[in-house]
Amino acid sequence: MRSEYKLIFERSHEGRRAYDLPKCDAPDAMNEIPECFRAESELALPELGEVDLVRHFTNLSRRNFGVDNGFYPLGSCTMKYNPKINEELAPMFDDVHPLLEPEMAQGCLALMADMEHMLCEICGMDAFTLQPAAGAHGELTGLMHIRAYHEHRGDFERKVMIVPDAAHGTNPASAAMAGFKVKEIKSAPDGGVDLDALRAAVGPDTAGLMLTNPSTLGLFERNIKEIAKIVHEAGGLLYYDGANLNAIMGIVRPGDMGFDVMHINLHKTFSTPHGGGGPGSGPVGVKSHLIPFMPVPRIEQKDDMLVLNYDKPDSIGKIKSFYGNFGVIAKAYCYIRSLGGEGLKEASENAVLNANYVMNKLRGIYDIPHDRTCMHECVVTPTEEMMKNEIHTSDIAKALIDRGYHPPTIYFPLIVHEAMMIEPTETESRETLDEFVEAMRGIAEQVKTDAAAIHAAPVTTPVGRPDEVTAARKPIVKYEEE
């Protein structure tokens, strides 16, 4: 079962080739470049025939697990099915250069303008920029708006960004990058924002509050109106981390909850593939008072043409080359147009239904620290008995791998000890959920009968548990010929 797999560099044979290039119909001109600028040697890249290269990567892909392979309930990541049609349509724009004259790129600009409008409607915001490349990038961009807003009013004292302790790690990291001091507030026992702690935290130095709603516990923040009031009365703005938007489309909108600025992860909510870690896309939506600060260029209608306007004196600038991950935006656009408003609502309802269905079935097998109706994800933990048998969340995760599942997000949120965060998404059928629950039950049973087997998991994978300590102490981060 276990097997190492050669690196592509270990498959190289001098002189083999997989490339071909058009015939060069221009005379060699390398002598136009003085020798001191020229490479002294050829690059140390592998040489393979095409079939061997294709097999290398094809077989590598078989050592990987994606949504198309099976259930992938990785909490907070919304690993829903990625529709095939979108993969087929987005590449139709592959040959469009980003710096064409606008009259030559009206199709791309129209798609983007349309996308901005639709996102505004879905989120209840007044304007969107599609420039940020990922969720964390969106957070940074959104926080830059908050900073610019305060600075523009001549208020340079608002340096503190309040972040609940349940927040994604990107929240405090983005706030620090945007130049804010981070003030962490403890969550209330019910998992929500502790209103007293928030009241105590706000003041003339408050720039804003970052909030995920539903929270990373998968719970809707019932006090959202009061939270918005506290922050706004203190002069701060409210940032919405849209990582969990999949729970609420067509049901409630961040803009209506009182948020001033937000980001969306198109690769989560709007079904674009996660690409093994990217590319994503993190559009940022704002209310009208933040529009002047949006990144340039803005797409605007001028006469009968869409143009790119760079003349925005109060803009935060640019946060990425060109206009964003257009290819990803196009796929998300296709998704929204496929489903329409009713379809989006149906997606959210079923995402929430599936999460509650799973949580309900796991009750009694695992502990549920915050046992109330959840939104699109739920957080469970090993029972005390499991912990006594030295079975931790990581062991349960490894045992799930042997049963053919990608494990949930583990050890997050940090405020729940030994957390397992399960997000089934709406695209999973009832029997998939049932089978997953049975696998979870099977693991719970096995803890009692054969805990050692769980400690040994996974056994069905090409490699066993890696020695992460050595990897970090003596890092080997590239291949070197012996």
């Binding site: 050890y411 992460e468 300590v469 970090a472 102490r473």
Partner: protein, 125 residues
């Protein structure tokens, strides 16, 4: 277990004062809590430290932890060996200092002796 030739902070650091130099490290209790230490982000000679503020970061595979200075002053020596062998802190936390600081200020009242520190650890647990 806890050597009584030095003082301790509530953040599980130790400090050993010789003249105007304070040698600092983390306690065995801290090293154990972190698990396998994989990296020590050392300060540089010449860095200023402030009592109660971080001067070093210690990393395990899945955690990172700030190490707080017991004194205010200037780093005059760092334990470069930790750079290649961070596991030394797991093996002998009291025998391996992180940095030596020529200090201008030390808040003795905030520090505990070995007996007090042991008691503090028990209470914390």
């Amino acid at each position: 277990m806890v050597p009584n030739d030095r003082k301790y902070t509530r953040d599980h650091e130790w400090v050993m004062v010789e003249g105007s130099i304070a040698k600092m490290g983390i306690t065995a209790h801290a090293a154990e809590a972190l698990g396998d230490i994989v990296y020590v982000e050392l300060p540089a000679v010449g860095d200023e430290t402030t009592a109660g503020e971080s001067y070093c970061v210690v990393e395990s595979v899945k955690a990172s932890s700030s190490v707080f200075s017991a004194v205010t002053g200037t780093v005059v020596e760092v334990n470069e060996e930790l750079d290649g062998a961070p596991e030394m802190l797991n093996e002998d936390a009291f025998g391996n200092f992180i940095a030596a600081v020529e200090f201008t200020e030390i808040n003795e009242a905030e520090l505990m002796d070995a007996e007090e520190y042991e008691k503090f650890c028990e209470e914390e647990a």
